[in-house]
């Protein structure tokens, strides 16, 4: 396991996973910021403006880390995956370039305006800027997901004489049926992360007895949005994302469900460890016939098992894939009752006093990150052994001339650097949260430029 290919895969997996910790918060917060800023603007409400300003600071911090960890991903297509880039550049070059031109510019430029323009611009321009920021960050998500959706489910392409592929219709690329549910599911997940973090900060302030005014706004907004988004994440977005896996990538579906043998009336595995020697699940806990029902709305429908397919087409990390899928689904299913309970408490006017619930909400903040990471691992590990599903194998994609020693060198560099970045982010984040949203009187009047 010391080939260049292994390190290439590990480096991309690691850098992409680490990167996505940041955009999931910024994309979620972009939507929440737009809500806060809209209330501030339409109702001339200073309280909401202050809330928006506080979350802009968190947004900016997460954005800064997201940008610098995102640039390596675009570069690595060429650096580590030269053969894949030569093959697929005619398609994914389009979506990646569009991401830069239509989305990333918008996001970066208007964040600068929002941070430094509190003195320069009136409330309308500030509101418009927040809207642009929202468009920028969600468009960015759209183009990146269009790239991934094409790798999951290639459409709108044709092959050249040289064997490379090129796009035949931009519209086809952006309306890839795979993209519809993937975009809906991913963006909902980002909103879950954003709202959980917002609710957690509110809960922390309430438990500490500080910044109570803002705390209640954060908690109220966070909990309601989180409950809504958690439900949408399971149904319809998650459900349909799974259906299209079973329709177009039955091997991936069988692998993440831990379903080894084709059968009618397939059980849904809820718990258990895949045994790769016997091709069974150890100490299984199953819901009888539920897998057939969920996928085909019929208890006796046939579901193809892994053994139906040649072993070289199985995802090469099947047990890990199985676990990440179950972690994602498990956590996602846990979020719904949790946040619905919180909403009921809020509705009954008891949430702000329910310390056990505040503690739970505060400590739940990392879990959407875990669920989202597990979700991406499900999508990407499940795509193996293909780089472009059914079209181009991962083993054929890495740079031929970049040796394993060099990739290990840079992988170690990224590991070290990102460890420090992670600690730094948490340190600065906690300090920003600890400092709180309150702007000292007298300073807000002369509108300080933010740095």
């Amino acid at each position: 396991m010391t080939s260049a290919l292994f390190y290439d895969r590990l480096q991309f997996a690691f850098t992409a996973t680490f990167h996505y910790l940041f955009p999931q918060l910024t994309m979620g917060l972009a939507a929440l910021l737009l809500y806060l800023k809209s209330r501030a603007y339409w109702n001339r409400d200073a309280h909401y403006d202050e809330a928006a300003h506080f979350w802009t600071k968190i947004f900016a911090l997460s954005f800064a880390f997201g940008v610098v960890t995102g640039i390596p991903l675009e570069f690595q297509f060429g650096m580590n995956w030269a053969r894949f880039s030569t093959f697929a550049g005619g398609v994914i070059g389009q979506t990646l370039a569009m991401e830069g031109v239509f989305a990333f510019f918008l996001e970066s430029t208007f964040l600068g305006v929002l941070l430094f323009g509190r003195k320069t611009f009136g409330p309308f321009v500030q509101w418009m800027t927040t809207l642009m920021l929202f468009f920028g960050s969600w468009l960015s998500g759209l183009f990146i997901l269009a790239t991934n959706a094409w790798m999951q489910h290639p459409v709108a392409y044709a092959a050249d004489e040289a064997g490379a592929v090129h796009v035949t219709s931009l519209w086809g690329l952006l309306t890839n049926p795979w993209l519809v549910w993937q975009f809906a599911h991913t963006m909902t997940a980002a909103v879950v992360t954003g709202s959980f973090v917002m609710a957690a900060v509110g809960a922390y302030y309430l438990l500490s007895g500080i910044h109570l005014d803002q705390a209640k706004t954060f908690l109220r907004t966070g909990v309601v949005v989180a409950a809504l988004a958690s439900c949408l994440m399971l149904f319809p977005t998650g459900h349909h994302a799974a259906l299209q896996v079973f329709e177009h990538q039955p091997i991936k579906g069988a692998a993440f469900e831990g379903h080894f043998y084709t059968e009618s009336g397939a059980d849904l595995v809820i718990f258990g460890q895949p045994n790769m020697d016997t091709l069974t699940i150890d100490n299984p806990l199953v819901a009888p016939k539920m897998l057939s029902f969920i996928i085909h709305k019929h208890f006796d429908a046939e579901i193809k098992g892994l053994t139906e397919f040649p072993r070289e087409d199985w995802p090469d990390t099947m047990p890990l894939l199985y676990y990440t899928y179950h972690i994602m689904v498990g956590l996602g299913s846990l979020f719904i009752p949790l946040m619905l309970t919180a909403v009921v408490l809020l509705w009954r006017g008891r949430l702000f006093q329910a310390r056990w619930m505040l503690w739970t909400i505060m400590l739940m903040a990392p879990f959407p990150y875990i669920a989202t990471t597990a979700g991406w691992m499900t999508a990407e590990l499940g795509r193996q052994p293909w780089l472009v599903y059914g079209l181009f194998r991962t083993a054929d994609g890495n740079s031929r001339l970049v040796g394993s020693g060099n990739v290990l060198f840079t992988l170690l560099g990224f590991l070290g650097l990102y460890l420090l970045l992670g600690l730094l982010f948490l340190f600065v984040l906690f300090r920003t949260v600890a400092r709180g949203p309150a702007v000292p009187v007298g300073l807000s009047a002369n509108g300080k430029g933010a740095l």
């Binding site: 911090l61 640039i71 030269a82 830069g100 490379a164 933010a450």
Partner: protein, 351 residues
């Protein structure tokens, strides 16, 4: 059908040239940062000057990479994997620079701030140097094999030859030229944006810096034909291209003239044009090559043998003009909105 390949060469070159101008002055401000801004208040002033615009400036690099990927996937793949080590260094410096600007003002602790100030200055310096070295590599050529791939070691014998490394005397010379040009560029920007001590120091640096640039440029240009004669053949064959170096020379002279009159804005703009002129001159000399082979010229990657399919290039032309017009419009709006000197404010709030 008329081929779109030359047009895409121009687009990609133009986007990277704009990146050199826009992120260039941020690098320049970073290179000079520790000398030009001595106190914490002065440093905040510099950061405030670049604050609203540097994030957008950096995106031109990402856009350039994406457009190169779109138009010339083979050259993107070959170049990025071949310069693997140098580009990793670029990535780490980009990370460190972005993070240093983002976190340095978060803590009111002199050690914390000094540390991130140093990181900001060092990563800016290294980026300006590496991008210059990269340009030097494009001029000199790389050891491409028959399949259009290569892998460049960081250095071999420090001399341009059939198997050169990323660093040799020529590429380092171009790197040094890049550092000085961008340092002067950054000084010109800070002259516009600041007053008092920072302004005066920037003026002094810009003054002597210009002559250093002229000296290094003269040396580099006179030595370049021995390293890469092909560039000159291109100018011989198509002398209309001489308009680009001419633009650079005129813009350089205009910079000096405007300096004498104290027209700070014009100084900055003409120096920007000087950078564009130099960049354009190199691009003209390289055309139609994207990566020149140090060995067999037939192995060179050109716009013809590394382009994406004509359909893809045609599709790209549908959306790119719309997208880039939008970008230029709001970028211009932002620069105009934040024009003028940055004010010193007593208390800074940080993000």
């Amino acid at each position: 059908m008329l081929s779109n390949e030359p047009l895409w060469f121009a687009i990609v070159a133009a986007v990277f040239a704009v990146y050199a101008v826009l992120d260039g002055f941020v690098f320049g401000a970073g290179i000079l940062y520790l000398f030009i801004a001595r106190t914490d208040a002065e440093r905040q002033l510099v950061l405030k000057a670049i604050g609203p615009v540097w994030k957008g400036n950096e995106v031109w690099l990402v856009a350039g990479g994406g457009l190169l990927f779109l138009a010339f996937p083979k050259a993107f793949a070959s170049g990025f994997s071949g310069f693997y080590l140098a580009l990793n260094l670029v990535l780490w410096c980009v990370i460190l620079r972005g993070v240093s600007i983002a976190v340095r003002s978060h803590l009111d602790n002199p050690l914390w701030r000094t540390f991130w100030d140093a990181i900001f200055a060092l990563s800016s310096l290294l980026l300006a140097l590496i991008f210059g070295v990269a340009l030097g590599n494009l001029i000199r050529g790389v050891p491409l094999s028959a399949d259009g791939q290569f892998f460049a070691a960081l250095w071999t014998t420090f001399t341009p030859g059939p198997t050169p490394g990323i660093l040799d005397w020529f590429t380092v010379l171009v790197g040094a030229l890049s550092v000085t040009i961008l340092a002067v560029h950054g000084a010109h920007f800070l002259i516009i944006k600041t007053e008092s001590a920072v302004h005066d120091r920037a003026s002094r640096i810009a003054h002597t810096g210009v002559w250093t640039v002229m000296l290094l440029a003269m040396v580099a240009i006179s030595l370049a034909p021995s390293v890469q004669p092909t560039l000159w053949h291109r100018y011989d064959a198509h002398p209309v291209g001489f308009v680009l170096p001419l633009i650079a020379v005129v813009a350089g002279a205009t910079t000096l003239a405007c300096r004498r009159h104290g027209w700070d804005g014009a100084v900055f703009l003409s120096w920007s044009l000087f950078i564009l002129g130099l960049f354009g001159s190199v691009a003209w000399g390289l055309f139609p090559n994207l990566l020149m082979a140090t060995g067999n010229p037939a192995y060179s990657l050109t716009i013809h043998n590394s382009a994406a399919s004509p359909d893809g290039l045609q599709l790209g032309l549908v959306w790119f003009p719309i997208g880039i017009s939008l970008v230029m419009t709001y970028t211009l709006w932002v620069y105009l909105s934040f024009r003028g000197k940055v004010a010193r404010s007593p208390v800074e709030e940080h993000y």
